[in-house]
Amino acid sequence: MSGEVSQLEELKAAIRGQLDSLDCVIGWEQGYDPLHATPLFIRSEADLERLTISPLAVHNPATYTTGFKGKKIGLVVRGCHSRSVIELLNEKLIERDEVVLFGLCCDGVVSQRKIRAALPADPGFVEAVELGKDELHITVAGEQATLKLQEVLADKCLHCAYPDPLVADVLIGEKHAPRQAASPACQDAFEALGNEEKLAFWQDTMSRCIRCYACRNVCPMCVCQDHCIATSRDHLWMSQENTPVENFMFQMIHVSHLTGRCTECGECERACPVDIPLMLLRRYMNKQVREVFGHQAGIALDKTPPLLTFQVEEARIKERDW
């Protein structure tokens, strides 16, 4: 994958040039095994050497930005990550002059969940991973498996309309031709279900939830930081009891607070240790926001989230007949 190698070198050079003036630059490195990447906080030349931008590097670095308020940092961003950054800028949660964006024109990242399903053995037994141009060669539990990259790309990447960063100080890689966004087939299938089936699905799925709040804490737009109403001591919003209804209440809080703000980076779903398809809710809400307000979060600077403003005559909110 020579293209990627040269892109990586180009990126490293760009970061190297600015490293001194930045508190750190957030990118990715290999994680606990060759199949997993982990966020990398580059502060030195040695750190920089570990940088990877392979499709395994999935984490959204925008999640960390609010933690660096007042400091100047760099971020390596893919298209979807740049949307999170834009939304944070629009909501005045970070300052533009406090982030340097190293943009990657992105061809998509993997879904570990899809890899897991496609491998002959649990990915826990991975021994080696080799990246081909369009495939992954994985040795797992002594067996060799080749996965087509296209087949294990994350859902968000398959139908991504913004693969290239929408805001960046440095742009690396070739820009993509404009693409049409689409929702994954499973989304449409789920939406087509009846209320009873949908309810049963959430009841069952939510019984798996352990309320670890990984979905919340990994979300770049969850900026309440340590003060979420779900875990506050003095709010009556939720019981701390871990039951489907309370777990679902939390998801409703999350999605409600994300109305018109979710940039569909998919981190919540990725982070969920028990594989809850949270994007079903997010995508659906985003669709409603698009339909009613013609708004998509994080695709343009200086846009106000739709719930923070209003129009006296709402063109697309019809008063219902009684």
Binding site: E91, L93, I229, T304
Partner: protein
């Protein structure tokens, strides 16, 4: 907490369909309820005494009364618990009359519902905390925006009442629309003779400062303590020196400057004093037509001015004043009749507005008080008046009645006959609206004594024929179509909100209605108040009004301002939003959504941004509380927890005892 619950029978109003004794029994079992009783009329003197006695005897620190609507008696009971030494916010009401006994037929269901409502009230009360109003001092000065007759009246009344007044007028002179009128109905007395002395009073009153050629730029602060920035437009004349002698206007060679005072019927000089009675009587240069300012050549006015007050370099100036109350009297604009294609859209010069006609009638007008039509200066014989041009017409989005056009049309018909005895007036009208004192008689005089011919119907078309205009309309009473040849057509142009009203409304946080007129606090009981405390309305900015009503409202607004500022200190409602700085992450979303500008960003000692509520400005709507995702800003008395306690009381979460793991 120790809560007492009082169930009111309201005679048989409640007890008739609610088993009050049962409700008492059920309520006694509610958490922290230590005392529950019922009474015949809880709001009566003995009823209230009963509450007070119970508070003392049972050492209550919270009270629930289940009776009528809190919109009815909440203040009553709050005062009662206050008399007993409790904070008035340690009280909740359950509405078991309007919302239960009066609307439900089934006694069992009603009783059940009443008990639920009491439980809700108890659960909320358990989360209440005492709230204390804050006192603050006020600035004894009033800002009057607009120098029309309503503003003039308000300013004079305030000043006579001892308050300092700042009057801001957009135009070069005060006087407003009334100054342009020739005569006024129904007395046919001279408009400027009535208004002139009042204008002079404004200029001479020691407590009034007048800023003409000025506009309100921004307003911050709150009732009693507004800070207002005024933009004084450059007039290119130093008004501290100008004596109003008028030499400059005589010598000005640029004589084709548009004349807004005369409704653009004629032209004036680039440097001018708009009319002889203008207040302040100061000259100003129209920079668009001044040759010196446009091309750098001329400078005659500076040469001839005996006091050397011409200043071509003058810039706009911003002035800040502190006031305690604001009277908005920005008046109205005329409807743009060009929206009606059937009246020729401006193609025919002899179709004019009623206000233009006033200028033709006025001795100080461009024709010296002789009626001459614009096209050829001929004296018209047949004058057709068309009423409701931009009034009562949904097709141009003006469904409302402008109120006084019927009257001034009658006046103008009368004056036409006075000016040209052999003239004939025709009035196309929809209905005659003449509900004031002497008004209907006045319109009758126009018809009967002055021979104005009233045709009930709308005009469909005006078209030229020779040097006349043919006005074709329906005569609905005769059931025919009529065509009237006219020498002059006068449109009774309707009233619409002043153009700057919407923007000014935003600055003042006073809402305009869909037509741009400011909305009063209550259509009947608070006609001059707005929903922003300390801001009052006078005159046509609130809706179409004739002169006496405008003057009356000016006085009313002044009375409100005087009443407000007569108190040494004001108290603010403590049921306002409050920021928990520990939870606030400084995202400022609450600041963006607050309709009152009641939240500001402050920096704490760690240098972090935090929201802060200006308690006296906050009106207690709670928009911010919903905006804040982490619940850091809470509307006191309606906090998330208080509302959730009610929700949970109504729908108790299912206690889940089935283990799933």
């Amino acid at each position: 907490m120790r809560i007492g619950v009082f169930i009111c029978h309201c005679g048989s109003n409640i007890a008739g369909t609610v088993d009050c004794e049962s409700v008492v029994e059920i309520a006694a079992g509610f958490p922290e309820v230590v005392y529950a009783t019922d009474s015949m009329y809880t709001c009566s003197e003995p009823g209230q005494e009963g509450i007070i006695t119970a508070i003392h005897e049972h050492n209550l620190d919270g009270v629930v009364v289940a009776s009528c609507s809190p919109r009815m008696h909440e203040p009553t009971f709050r005062r009662a618990v206050e008399r007993a030494g409790l904070n008035r916010y340690m009280f909740e009401m359950a509405n078991i009359r309007e919302h239960v006994s009066w609307i439900g037929k089934d006694k069992a269901h009603n009783t059940n519902k009443a008990a639920d409502l009491v439980l809700m009230a108890v659960e909320k009360l358990r989360r209440n905390r005492p709230l204390v109003a804050k006192s603050f001092t006020t600035v004894k000065k009033v800002l009057v925006i607009g120098g029309g007759v309503a503003g003039i009246q308000a300013a004079l009344d305030c000043a006579d009442g001892g308050l300092d007044v700042v009057m801001v007028e957009r135009d070069q002179s005060i006087g407003g629309k009334m100054a342009k009128l020739d005569k006024t109905f129904p007395t046919i007395d001279c408009s400027s003779c009535v208004l002139g002395p009042k204008m002079v009073d404004i200029a001479q009153h020691e407590k009034i400062s007048l800023y003409a050629c000025s506009e309100v730029e921004s307003v911050s602060g709150y009732v009693g303590n507004f800070s207002v920035t005024i933009r004084r437009r450059a007039t290119y004349v130093d008004w501290t020196k100008c004596t109003g002698c008028g030499v400059c206007t005589e010598k000005c060679p640029s004589k084709r400057s548009p004349d807004p005072f005369n409704e653009f019927l004629g032209t004036t000089t680039s440097i001018n004093i708009p009319f002889p009675q203008a207040i302040p009587k100061k000259a100003a240069i129209n920079p668009d037509t001044c040759m010196k300012l446009q091309k750098g050549k001329c400078g005659i006015c500076a040469k001839v001015c005996p006091v050397g007050c011409i200043d071509y370099e003058q810039q706009d100036e911003l002035v800040t004043v502190e006031v305690g109350a604001i009277v908005v009297a920005t008046g109205y604009d005329l409807f743009d009749w060009h929206k009606y294609p059937q009246y020729g859209e401006g193609r025919y010069p002899d179709v004019i507005t009623s206000l233009q006609y006033e200028r033709l009638l006025s001795a100080s007008g461009p024709t010296g008080g002789h009626i001459k039509r614009p096209s050829d200066g001929k004296e018209p014989k047949n004058v057709v008046f068309i009423q409701c041009v931009g009034s009562r017409d949904r097709s141009v989005d003006r469904p409302y009645c402008s109120g006084f056009c019927c009257m001034y049309t009658a006046k103008q018909a009368i004056l036409t006959k006075d000016h040209i005895p052999d003239s004939q007036s025709f009035v196309f009208y929809m209905d005659i609206r003449a509900p004031g004192k002497g008004y209907d008689e006045f319109t009758r005089r126009a018809m009967e004594e002055y021979g104005a011919q009233y045709v009930r119907g709308r005009v469909a078309m005006i078209y030229p024929h020779g040097d006349q205009l043919i006005v074709r309309g329906a005569d609905t009473l005769a059931g025919t179509q009529v065509e009237v040849p006219a020498d002059l057509v006068v449109l009774a142009t309707g009233v619409e909100a002043s153009q700057g009203a919407v923007k000014l409304g935003e600055t003042l946080r006073v809402v305009p209605d869909q037509f741009g007129f400011f909305v009063e606090s209550h259509p009947k009981l608070k006609p001059v108040e707005t929903n922003t405390a300390g801001v009052y309305l006078a005159g046509a900015c609130q809706g179409p009004k004739d002169i006496p009503t405008s003057v009356g409202q000016g006085s009313a607004a002044a009375a409100k301002a005087l009443g407000l500022l007569s108190k040494e200190q004001l108290e603010s409602d403590p049921a306002v939003s409050k920021v928990n700085v520990n939870r606030c992450v400084g995202c400022q979303k609450c600041i963006d959504t607050c309709p009152f500008g009641a939240i500001k960003a402050v920096t704490d000692r760690m240098g972090r941004l935090k929201a802060e509520v200006i308690e006296t400005v906050c009106q207690g709507c709670g928009i911010c509380t919903v905006t804040c995702p982490q619940g850091a800003i809470q509307l006191e008395h309606f906090t998330d927890n208080q509302i959730l306690a009610e929700v949970n009381a109504l729908c108790p979460p299912k206690m889940n005892n089935v283990s799933f793991e």
